[in-house]
């Protein structure tokens, strides 16, 4: 009986999703404790209500909805980042800048060059958004070319677009913030029925990507290239193309995130869209239990990781920490989480567990 119990516990603990889940639960626990101490309903965190708003009609309202909504961009980026990390054992630090340039490009097309505020579209909305997505793919293809074909370390290769893309976005917008004052553009970052649209977009992206990875062999190919590039090539995979493809996908997701972020504020603010988002995305991947050294990946973990980060941020605001000071706590949490996963610490824990086991067996004997 006892033995059976421990085995289930070990199985749960060794599952890839264990750590991200524990973090999420911890964050929720902090919320519950805080709400209880404050004298309000302990379950405030989980309550979702329908509310009438003046602008958007009846919408779902609640802290969880807010976290899902605000965490959409990070979750989208985390999808692409997971694939990149898995295939090339490196990170794409340009995603934040790519978000910005895609948003700027979209708004520039919609408003026309040099126009800083508009009510009507210069080109159809679909054209603007598609162009932004294509630009994202082009950025990804550029990064992928450098990494896969020229064998440059991913961080250095993406450093180029990290510093250039945002600057190009500024040029496109003529150093202005371009406002698109049109409800149709605000839809992507607004509400679709009772749900915020970003949540739906993210859900669709996750479902499509999961289906593609599970139903085709792409997911397995990416992992095998990440585990051993040369062996995969000898086994008949075009490993360069696979690495390249992951970067294109990462660029595409960055573009989607960029359009959503710009639609939220119905403008293209090149300086601020996607600022530091690459860090959140990388963090999400690491929190999701994925090794930054490449190889096996876990998409669900990354997504949960992204929402965990947003939950931490929201909780910190809830506790009254200012947005400028929140990074201190974020940093401490990150270090603790990553330190738990560190190989020497794991080895130490295993050693202790083994010692306990021998002691227990000795006692039984």
């Amino acid at each position: 009986m006892n033995k059976n119990n421990t085995s289930i516990w070990t199985r749960i603990r060794s599952s890839a999703l264990f750590l991200p889940f524990v973090c999420l639960v911890l964050v929720m626990a902090v919320n519950i404790i805080y709400d209880t101490m404050n004298g309000s309903n302990p379950l405030t965190f989980f309550i979702i209500t329908l509310r009438d708003t003046t602008g958007n009609g009846t919408i779902l309202y609640g802290r969880i909805i807010d976290i899902l909504n605000r965490g959409s961009e990070a979750a989208l980026l985390a999808l692409g980042m997971t694939l990149v990390v898995s295939s090339s054992a490196g990170t794409d630090i340009s995603v934040g800048s790519v978000m910005s340039v895609c948003a700027s490009f979209c708004c520039m097309l919609l408003a026309g060059y040099g126009v800083s505020s508009t009510n009507d579209f210069n080109v159809p909305l679909v054209v603007g958004i598609l162009a932004a997505l294509i630009l994202g793919c082009v950025c990804g293809a550029f990064n992928g070319f450098l990494v896969a074909f020229l064998k440059i370390q991913p961080m250095v290769a993406t450093l180029i677009l990290y510093s250039a893309a945002r600057a190009v976005g500024l040029l496109m917008c003529n150093d202005l913030i371009v406002y698109i004052r049109n409800d149709a553009y605000g839809f992507l970052g607004g509400f679709c029925g009772i749900l915020p649209t970003p949540i739906i977009i993210t859900a669709i992206c996750i479902v499509i990507l999961t289906l593609v990875l599970k139903k085709t062999a792409l997911g397995m190919y990416i992992q095998s290239v990440g585990i051993n590039d040369k062996a995969s090539r000898i086994a008949g995979l075009n490993s360069k193309m696979i690495i390249w493809a992951t970067y294109v996908l990462c660029g595409l997701f960055a573009a989607i995130a960029g359009v959503v972020a710009s639609s939220r504020i119905t403008s293209a603010d090149s300086n601020n869209i996607g600022l530091y988002m690459e860090l959140d995305a990388i963090l999400a991947v690491a929190l999701g239990g994925n090794s930054l050294g490449g190889g096996k990946f876990n998409l669900a973990g990354s997504v949960i990781g992204a929402y965990t980060i947003q939950a931490i941020t929201t909780t910190l605001y809830n506790l009254g920490v200012s947005s400028a000071q929140a990074p201190v706590f974020k940093a401490i949490i990150v270090i603790i989480i990553v330190a738990i996963q560190a190989p020497p610490v794991k080895a130490f824990m295993r050693k202790r567990a083994a010692q306990k086991q021998t002691v227990r067996e000795g006692a039984r004997a």
Partner: protein, 342 residues
């Protein structure tokens, strides 16, 4: 023997390309904007003055990159240093104790990061990213105000910042007929001393050579009997320490503390090192290259400023293009080398 000769050769070629590029860029600036005073020695000295902090930071970055790591916490550590100095001086702490405190905090900061990287074997990117968040957040915890350091607050620091060290050569008479003596500031002296010390350290000391060994191949270094973990930890400590020195130089320039200070400085430092021929994989590079990398960065922004009409985003784009060219050249060298070895 022949092989290693070629290897050293191609690395020297990279350094030479960097230096030639700097000279070409600067000469181009002189030809295009000679009438705006680009040819004066002071223009060059101004590049040094503006980038004194960055030179120190780039030296530290090079040291870390030699071990195969990276330190992206430097920008926010500089912001934290500036804020500490601003708040400390306002609270009435003297200049010298404040500088010692800042350097001490830098060393401690580096020790924690180094311990995580070296002994806990966490990826450097993640550790220093946490350091970056921490530094920026801590700056806000210390104070969210924009503080400036005026003469009333600390005269000694103010005088140090405004101290002009005149050079005995290279003066010119400006269009009003006044003879201008070229000058540098204290930060430049500090930066150049740091540069020389780190250069000598990397080339001639046991510690410096062990950094190259660790970056070249961690396993071989371990088998050679080097304490890899300790070497890595010291590299991060040195980086944060140099970054604190750079932060003080930076503060002498800006005379202010603010949360938004030195945003993106880490990427400037990394770009300078990469342009200077340091490989992110470790084991290759030296600080002289990084020094010229910083100068190239500075020259580009000087040229854009001299033009006056170009948008402020052009320095970023030009640096990125340069980075691209350098990275491609480096990778072509590497591909060529691996093909030869086969």
């Amino acid at each position: 023997m022949k092989n290693s000769g070629r290897k050293i050769n191609s690395n020297t070629v990279l350094l030479i390309i960097t230096i030639v590029l700097f000279v070409v860029l600067y000469a181009g600036g002189c030809i295009a904007y000679g009438s705006k005073g680009f040819t004066h020695l002071q223009t060059f000295l101004n590049i040094l003055i503006t980038n004194a902090g960055l030179i120190c930071i780039a030296c530290g970055m090079t040291v870390v990159m030699l071990t195969g790591g990276i330190d992206i916490s430097v920008g926010s550590l500089v912001a934290m240093d500036c804020m500490m100095i601003a708040v400390g001086l306002q609270a009435g702490i003297g200049m010298v104790p404040m500088i010692i405190i800042v350097l001490g905090v830098g060393l401690l900061f580096g020790a924690v990061q180094g311990y995580c990287v070296g002994y806990l074997e966490i990826q450097p990117f993640i550790v220093t990213m946490a350091g970056m968040f921490f530094g920026r957040g801590m700056t806000a915890v210390i104070s969210t105000d924009q503080l400036s350091i005026t003469q009333d607050i600390n005269a000694a620091f103010y005088n140090l910042a405004n101290l002009k060290i005149a050079l005995p050569f290279g003066g010119y008479t400006n269009n009003k007929g006044v003879y201008q003596v070229p000058f540098i500031r204290v930060g430049v002296v500090v930066a150049l001393v740091v540069l020389v010390v780190i250069f000598i350290m990397l080339r001639y000391t046991k510690f410096g050579r062990s950094l190259y060994a660790v970056g070249g191949s961690e396993q071989s270094a371990q088998m050679m009997g080097l304490n890899v973990k300790w070497a890595k930890m010291r590299a991060y400590m040195l980086s944060s320490f140099l970054c604190s020195i750079g932060g003080i130089c930076y503060c002498l320039n800006t005379m202010a503390g603010s949360v938004q200070q030195a945003l993106g400085l880490e990427m400037d430092a990394i770009a300078s090192s990469v342009i200077g021929g340091t490989l992110l994989t470790g084991g290759v590079g030296n600080v002289i290259g990084s020094f010229f990398g910083v100068l190239i960065n500075g020259t580009i922004s000087s040229i854009v400023k001299s033009n006056g009409k170009l948008a402020s985003s052009w320095p970023n784009i030009l640096t990125a293009i340069l980075l691209f060219v350098f990275i491609v050249i480096q990778s072509l060298f590497a591909l060529y080398r691996s093909r030869k070895n086969k």
